[in-house]
């Protein structure tokens, strides 16, 4: 190719203490292209974006912008160099209104307004405080703010993950046009459909290293997956579950019966059962109400309608302790929500033991140690750095959040994406553990963002879309295409295309409520 790259990064490395988030990443982006940055969870995509945009500094590496070596030390420097990111987390200042946020970053207002309209939000009031704006809209505003300054390189980190289909579609359109007008876009997404529809090339990261750059042509998906997973390509037809592991026939009375559960506008009329000895999967795109479902079952939020029955008794949870007393434990997806990072592994695992007022006295050290050790052993937690949980690796941290409830012997565990950002080996251990729990007569509700996990772990799969249960599959029926279609709200068996072309008039596709 004759055109010189707009952005050329090579040999980028970044360590967080003992963790190497990036080892040797490179990325080269040409003018006018939409370049996908792909990789499994934790491969280092976000880290690379943060380095390129000056949000963190790299330990090693060279970055050329338009052929010139630049040392980008701050987000402000990146802006001046023409690099603008939309991070995975919203970066508007929560307590400022939108207008002030624009002024803070020196973004021109009129182009911003134009972009916001173009991106499918016609009635934004720019005097609204960022804190009061729904997440999906915030992401779009972030994008519009970036677009308004016409950057040379736009870096979008999982921009579409939290968007309803209609907004996502608008975003894709806009991004495509950016490429056409000669600017470059770095686009991170886990959705192949989007990549296929949008991108020219893709750089694939694995364990912090660039393992390949491919042109996007029909059928390249297999290759990308191969690159992403590397030798660990255990992906396929596992049948990790043998027949014996499958649950016994459902007992007469369900452990938990959810009927017509409603939570605000997020969840409507959700009904399902969870039986003892069963792992029930929950599959949904981002933000379809699964968070609220789990939070309601865990006693974190109060449902606005419907009933939850535990062992046939109706329950009303006003605090997580009520759920815990009913034997229901919740493992949130975000480890930092569940762990006291500066405390030891032992204290974290033993935390629920001290929760109740009557257990505030002296700790029965021996008994506690025995319980904690057996949980640690069961999950094979690496205890070399057990003094502070924050020194553990991500996978081990995740194990601690689960070990807590193994030690507390909870009868039902609600696992929200427990394998997010952890490696294949640990994932296998967690799958095994969940199956074992089911084998011991416990029940598990398991939300996952990786469809293939469903086959390995679940007995049944509940698919949620737009706050409603759209389908419940048995594990045999739950192949990825079927799940994917259901997750997009398409009826079973229909042959519609998924992704960008999903029906905009479907329930979730309504625009976010206009803000007052």
């Amino acid at each position: 190719m004759t055109t010189s790259p707009l952005l050329d990064a090579t040999g980028v490395a970044k360590n967080y203490g003992a963790v190497a988030a990036l080892r040797n990443a490179s990325l080269s982006v040409l003018p006018g292209e939409v370049h996908a940055l792909m990789g499994a969870n934790g491969a280092g995509k976000s880290t690379l974006v943060k380095i390129l945009t000056g949000a963190i500094s790299a330990n090693a590496g060279r970055i050329l912008i338009k052929g010139e070596a630049r040392d980008i030390r701050s987000p402000a420097a990146a802006r001046r160099a023409g690099l603008l990111p939309v991070y995975q987390e919203p970066s508007l200042i929560p307590d400022l209104d939108v207008l002030s946020n624009l002024r803070l970053t020196g973004t021109p207002v009129e182009p911003f307004r134009a972009w916001v309209r173009e991106l499918g939000i016609p009635d934004l009031d720019i005097r609204d405080t960022a804190r009061d704006i729904p997440l999906a809209v915030l992401r779009v505003l972030d994008l519009a703010r970036a677009l308004a300054v016409e950057p040379d390189v736009l870096l979008l980190d999982e921009m579409t993950a939290a968007l309803p289909a209609n907004l996502a579609e608008k975003v894709l359109e806009v991004v495509r046009r950016q490429g056409d007008s000669g600017r470059a876009v770095i686009f991170i997404s886990h959705r192949f459909v989007e990549i296929a529809a949008l991108c020219d090339r893709a750089t694939v990261l694995r364990d912090g290293e660039t393992v390949g750059v491919v042109d996007i042509v029909p059928g390249v998906e297999e290759k990308i997956v191969e690159l992403m997973l590397g030798t660990r390509i255990v992906k396929t037809h596992i049948a990790a579950r043998t027949a014996e592991q499958k649950a016994a026939p459902a007992p007469a009375r369900p452990r938990i019966a959810v009927r017509d559960l409603r939570v605000g506008t997020k969840l409507a009329d959700v009904s399902f059962d969870l039986a003892d000895g069963e792992v029930a999967g929950v599959v949904a795109l981002e933000g379809q109400g699964q968070d609220e479902l789990f939070a309601a079952l865990a006693g974190s939020i109060r449902p606005s309608g419907g009933t939850i029955e535990v062992d046939g008794q109706p329950v009303k949870f006003s605090h997580p302790i009520d759920a815990i007393r009913a034997g229901i434990a919740y493992v949130p997806g975000d480890r930092s929500e569940a762990l006291a990072m500066q405390r030891s592994v032992r204290e974290n695992i033993a935390l629920p033991f001290s929760a109740a007022l009557r257990n505030w006295g002296p700790i029965p050290i021996r008994r506690e140690r025995a319980k904690v050790l057996s949980a640690i052993e069961r999950l094979q937690i690496d205890t070399r750095a057990q003094g502070e949980v924050q020194r553990l690796s991500g996978g081990n941290q995740q194990k601690v959040t689960i070990a807590r409830w193994i030690a507390a012997d909870a009868r039902t565990i609600l696992c929200f994406d427990p394998t997010r950002g952890i490696d294949v080996g640990t994932k296998q251990e967690i799958y095994k553990l969940l199956r074992e729990l089911a084998g011991n007569g416990k029940s598990v509700l398991f939300y996952t963002s990786e469809l293939e996990e469903v086959q390995r772990v679940c007995d049944r799969v509940i698919v949620i879309f737009g706050g409603r249960v759209v389908d419940i599959f048995t594990v045999e029926e739950a192949d990825e295409p079927a799940l994917m279609r259901a997750a997009y709200g398409l009826p079973r068996g229909a042959e519609a295309d998924i992704g960008i072309l999903a029906d905009p008039s479907s329930p979730s596709a309504t625009a976010p409520e206009p803000t007052p």
Binding site: H319, E337, R343, L357
Partner: protein, 350 residues
């Protein structure tokens, strides 16, 4: 998952020392304490004797208990500025009620405002989520006002320091010499002037300190304090009710402050309406110097104890120095800042 074949380069001594100290945060503090004492001894040869040590301990104890209140509240990310008022109230009430009341009744009356203020603080912070700084400041204002109204009703009856409190606060007990096994050892101890006497206040303080250390390290309540300060959300998900922990915490803190007041009145022997107020800011400083994070989740009581000793010795040191009062205060501020900054540097180096 490959093991690195390169053997790590030898760690330079400076780093090793730093790491050693980082893993034992008490060591640098103790070193500092010793350094201060040595400086004092150099400035005034002979000052470091039995009597001085006993006095230093006597004055460090009330500070250390109040700093214990701060340590516990700071572990949860709070602060308790009402301890000075609470201590003063219980001291003043004790000294005035003892004139006409049975000692037990006077004691109960003296502890009542402590419990009450602790409860109000706890509810304000734990239930209404008022910022601890404002909450405790407000209750301490109210407490001071109530005390002033109260004192007018008791001027006529006068005040008295109960003998027991005076004994506890100021008394020194000599250990029987027979306890020292050999004559030469006795002689040596007598020559160097150490070891035969200890302040009676230790009889109260050692159990209290042990209780605080034990509570923080080995009880469910202590665990929860750390956990709540580290990540409130996580504790909620583990079934902890925040308001219970916080209310219990502020009541505990207030009760400890009340007990400090009783001890302090025994030490000072002059009831006044601002008796323990001057201890409030130093108690915060002692906890911070002792390595407790003001943002919660990290720290412990042993460091605080050394912090209180450091501040007490520092006060003496500055009193001894012949320099204008202004320069003395400046030096105090600078030393506190320097010590905290250096200590943070050392401890964060891991």
């Amino acid at each position: 998952m490959s093991t690195s074949a390169i053997t790590p380069p030898p760690v330079p001594l400076g780093r090793r020392v730093k790491r050693f100290m980082a893993d034992r945060p008490l060591v640098p503090l103790l070193i500092l304490l010793v350094v201060l004492v040595v400086i004092l001894q150099i400035l005034r040869p002979g000052i470091v004797n039995e009597r001085w040590i006993a006095n230093t301990i006597k004055f460090a104890i009330p500070l250390a208990i109040l700093a214990g209140c701060q340590t516990m509240t700071m572990l949860t990310g709070g602060i308790d500025l009402s301890v000075g008022t609470v201590a003063t109230m219980s001291a003043f009430i004790m000294a005035t009620q003892i004139v006409n009341q049975d000692p037990a009744v006077a004691f109960l009356l003296a502890m009542m405002p402590a419990v009450l203020i602790g409860l109000v603080n706890g509810i304000g912070v734990g239930v209404f989520r008022v910022h601890p700084l404002i909450m405790t400041l407000g209750t301490s204002l109210i407490g001071t006002g109530c005390l002033q109204v109260y004192q007018r009703t008791v001027i006529a009856s006068g005040a008295k320091i109960p003998d027991f409190l005076a004994w506890l606060g100021t008394g020194v007990t000599r250990l029987p010499e027979a306890w020292v096994p050999s004559e030469p050892a006795r002689q040596w101890l007598a020559d160097t002037g150490i070891g035969f006497a200890f302040p009676n206040a230790l009889l109260l303080y050692v159990p209290v300190a042990a209780l605080i250390v034990f509570t923080l390290a080995r009880t469910g309540f202590g665990r929860l304090l750390y956990a709540v300060g580290d990540n409130e959300h996580a504790t909620r998900l583990s079934g902890v009710r925040y308001w219970q922990v916080i209310t219990a915490l502020y009541i505990t803190s207030s009760v400890l402050a009340g007990i400090t007041g009783l001890l302090y009145i025994g030490l000072i022997k002059a009831p006044s309406l601002s008796l323990a107020e001057p201890l409030v800011l130093p108690s915060v400083a002692a906890a911070v110097i002792g390595g407790t994070s003001i943002f919660g989740g990290r720290g412990g009581y042993t460091g605080t104890v050394v912090g209180a000793l450091i501040l007490t010795v520092l006060t003496t040191l500055l009193t001894i120095l012949q320099m204008p009062e202004g320069a003395r205060r400046m030096l105090f501020g600078l030393i506190v800042l320097f010590v905290t900054a250096a200590y943070l540097r050392i401890v964060e180096e891991r």
